[in-house]
Structures are given as C-alpha cells and as structure tokens.
C-alpha cells in the first residue's frame, strides 16, 4: 500500500505534463457569454470564435478518436444495444446502482480532499446503507430515504484547488480526457480501496462491464454524437470540457 502511494506521489511530482497542465489557461471562458453583458447583443454575434481548449496533440487525438469510433461501432455499440434491449430495465438499474456504489469510496475520499465534509458524510452514509440494506449496492435504498448521490474524482479535486484542465487527450477505449483528469484517473485507480482488494482479473471484468453499462446508459446520446454531429471530434471535445467545467463549479 505504501509502495503504491509512494509511486503515485512520485508520478505526481515528476510528471512534466502535470506541471504543464497547471500552467496552461484552461477552458473556463469556454462559455462565450459572461453574466455581465447582454448575451444577445450585436457585439456578441459579431465576435470571433476563440477556441480556448488546448489541443496540441490534435492529429494523434483524432487518430485515436477514429480508432475508438471503429471499435465502438464493431464491438461496444452492438453489445450495448443487445444489453439495453434484452436485459430487463430493473436489472439494468441494479447494475447501475452497483457501479455507483462501487465508486462511492473514491467519491468519499475526494469530497474529503475538497473539504466538502457534509457531502462526504452523506456519501459514506449512502455507501453503508446501500451495501448493507441494499444488498451490496444493487438497490439504491439511500435515495429512497432522500439521500441523493454525488460523484467526484481526483481530477475535480485538482480543479477545486485551481489546476486547469490542460491539453486535451483522447485515450484508447477510455475516450476524452485532459492531462489533469488523466492524472486524476491514475490517482483514483491506485487509491481505490475496492479495486485494490480485488484481483486483476476481476478488475478487468468490472472495467469491461462498466464500459458496456455506460455505453448502454448513454446509448442515444453517444449515437447522436457519432451519427448526427457534423464534426464528432470537436463536438465530443467541447462537450467533455463543458461538462467538467460544470462539475468543477458545482
């Protein structure tokens, strides 16, 4: 455990991309508007569009995006389609609850890191309730009691302390991320008490299961991006950064 923690610290401190990510102006002005002026003024209409998302690796990102697109079309989308249309909705909901519950320890730790102690206590309460009364997390009993779920991660913890997203990245299979969020994913993986107590094989199965579940849960949304968007790469990049900015400001 100490070895893993030390590894994460060393990676964090020595990673030049992390330093870069911290220094690069992010995407906080992605929303073209600001709240001080009329959003519908002639000035707003005439202004030039400024792409504030750093994308220095665009050629390689686009290549990986195309490969992911093909993998999705050939393998993930068909499996997600079958899952979505054959597995009863109740069972799909239970699977969703299970994955939500498995992510609770990471959310709890990051809420503590972000100083959100009240939310952290709710997440802990949800985890205990759903793991015990909710049959290991299959049933979301806590929400029935009015304790709403929340989700956060180490990428958002870094954002909470002012680290910008940094350059945009597209990872094989995993998809869109940023340098900051990639680092966050690494820290979350190594510090997750659940994945650390499972063997590699189980972690791989859970990872594949989650990819299928997420794809099926967002089936129409992702298909809209893939098949209806005029420029799926830019669309996905913009959506990713806006969504993360929204979560940062929550």
């Amino acid at each position: 455990m100490i070895y893993r923690f030390a590894l994460v610290v060393v990676i964090t401190l020595l990673n030049p991309f992390f330093l870069l990510a911290a220094s690069v102006e992010g995407y906080y002005d992605l929303y073209y508007f600001n709240n001080q002026n009329s959003k519908m003024s002639e000035e707003t209409l005439a202004n030039d569009y400024v792409d504030t998302i750093e994308d220095p690796f665009q050629p390689i990102n686009q290549l990986i995006f195309s490969i992911n697109f093909t993998i999705d079309m050939l393998a993930i989308e068909p499996v997600a389609y079958v899952y979505k249309n054959t597995v009863p909705e109740v069972a799909q909901d239970r699977v969703g609850n299970l994955f939500d519950n498995l992510s609770s320890p990471i959310t709890f730790l990051n809420q503590i890191f972000q100083g959100k102690f009240e939310q952290a206590s709710q997440t802990l309460g949800r985890f205990i309730t759903n793991t015990t009364l909710g049959l290991g997390g299959l049933v979301d009993v806590a929400s029935e009691f009015g304790v709403e779920k929340a989700q956060t991660d180490f990428g958002l913890t870094l954002a909470h302390y002012g680290f910008k997203g940094g350059p945009y990245l597209v990872l094989p299979i995993i998809g869109p991320t940023s340098f900051r969020d990639l680092l966050g994913k690494g820290v979350d993986f190594f510090s997750d008490p659940i994945s650390r107590n499972l063997n590699n094989k189980t972690n791989v199965y859970l990872g594949i299961g989650k990819i299928i579940y997420v794809r099926a849960d967002n089936y129409d949304l992702i298909n809209n991006i893939k098949y209806k968007s005029l420029d799926p790469y830019t669309f996905m990049k913009t959506v990713y950064y806006q969504n993360r900015t929204g979560k940062t400001n929550e």
Partner: protein, 208 residues
C-alpha cells in the same frame, strides 16, 4: 413636529409604493417566464403522453412547438459568429433554414422519450443583462426508473414582448456553445461551403 411626522410618513408611504411597484414588476416578469416555461413543458408532455396520436402527428406537433419557442434565427447567427457577415442574404436565409432542419432532426425525436418523466421548474434567474430581458430557467427531470433527477436548463429572452428559448444546457453542456465550436472548427478546416454541404447532407431532402 406633527408636520415633520406627517412629511416623514408621506415619504415612507411613497417609498413603500415605489418598492411595491418595483417588486410587483419583478414578480410579473418572473411569473410570465415561469408561465412560458411551464406552458412549453406542458405542450410537449401533452403530445408525447397521448397514446391515441400517431407517431407522425406527434412529430409534426413537436416540431411546430419547437419552431415556435426556439429563437432559431438568432442561434443560427450566433453559431457562425463573424462568418455570418460573409454570407449574402440568400446564403444566410439558406443557412438558417438548413440549421433549423438540422436542429429539428436532432432534438425533436428526443422529446418523445420524455413520456414518463416528471419535469419540475426549480428556479428562474435573470442572467444579469442590463435590460433584464434574458433569463435562465432551471428544471429537473425525474424518470420513474431513476431515483436521481437530472437537469435540463434553458435560456430565455424577451423580444418585443415575446418569449423565446435561445439555449439548452444539459448537465452543464450548452447547445449553442457546442455548435459554435463545432461549426467554427469545420469552417477553419474546410471553409464555409463545406459546412453548407454537410448541413445539406443531414437534411432529409438535401444532397451531399
């Protein structure tokens, strides 16, 4: 002393009147935005939950509602930014029409999925414009399958006493910001003509 008290009382009454008029006006503004939002939601739900209506009829009514409540000409201009000025009147009219059809094709089918959802307007806030005519309406949508609600917000503008939506924000993602980014990326890489070609290709009656 009595005169002073009387004067003071009169001043306070006048102040109270001004305040009450101000708040009454503010409240009227908020309430008509709320009415507009609620009416729009009700119109959509009325169509999508009607089991006796054919799918084609539903699509036609939803499209009509969408075109009435969304300020598409403004959004079309916004998505192009400075490139709009390069268009001739004929081209700008064509772009607006193509964009309108593109939006209808993407969004109207999605409305049909809200047939078992409970939509609640949670807040209405002025967006801070000096003339107080732009608002953010926040809604939460609860699905009977989902224990946790998700949010769809929209920006509303008052133009000549008519209210219209000029942006949808789903889970923090703004429709018009996304499409502005997307269209500008296409124009930067391939030019305006290519954007027209792509839009025509997405139009059921268009050609690649």
């Amino acid at each position: 002393m009595n005169k002073l008290t009387q004067n003071l009382t009169n001043h306070l009454k006048l102040l109270a009147l001004i305040f009450s008029l101000f708040f009454a006006f503010e409240s009227r503004c908020d309430s008509d935005i709320r009415d507009f939002a609620q009416e729009t939601v009700d119109r959509i739900l009325h169509v999508v939950t009607n089991d006796n209506m054919s799918s084609d009829k539903k699509s036609a009514l939803l499209e009509k509602t969408f075109l009435e409540v969304v300020d598409i000409p403004w959004i079309a201009r916004y998505t192009l930014g400075r490139h709009w000025a390069k268009l001739t009147p004929t081209q700008s009219a064509e772009f607006t029409k193509l964009y309108e059809q593109y939006l209808v094709n993407i969004y109207v089918p999605n409305f049909k999925k809200y047939n078992s959802d409970q939509v609640t307007i949670t807040s209405i806030q002025n967006l801070g414009s000096a003339d107080k005519k732009e608002y953010l309406v926040k809604t939460t949508i609860e699905n009977e399958r989902r224990t946790t609600a998700y949010s769809i917000n929209f920006r509303v503008v008052r133009k000549d006493d008519k209210l219209q939506i000029f942006d949808f924000i789903t889970e923090g993602v703004s429709m018009i910001s996304t499409q502005r980014a997307e269209f500008n990326a296409i124009i930067s890489a391939h030019g305006l003509d290519y954007l027209f070609t792509k839009l025509r290709s997405r139009n059921p009656n268009g050609e690649e």
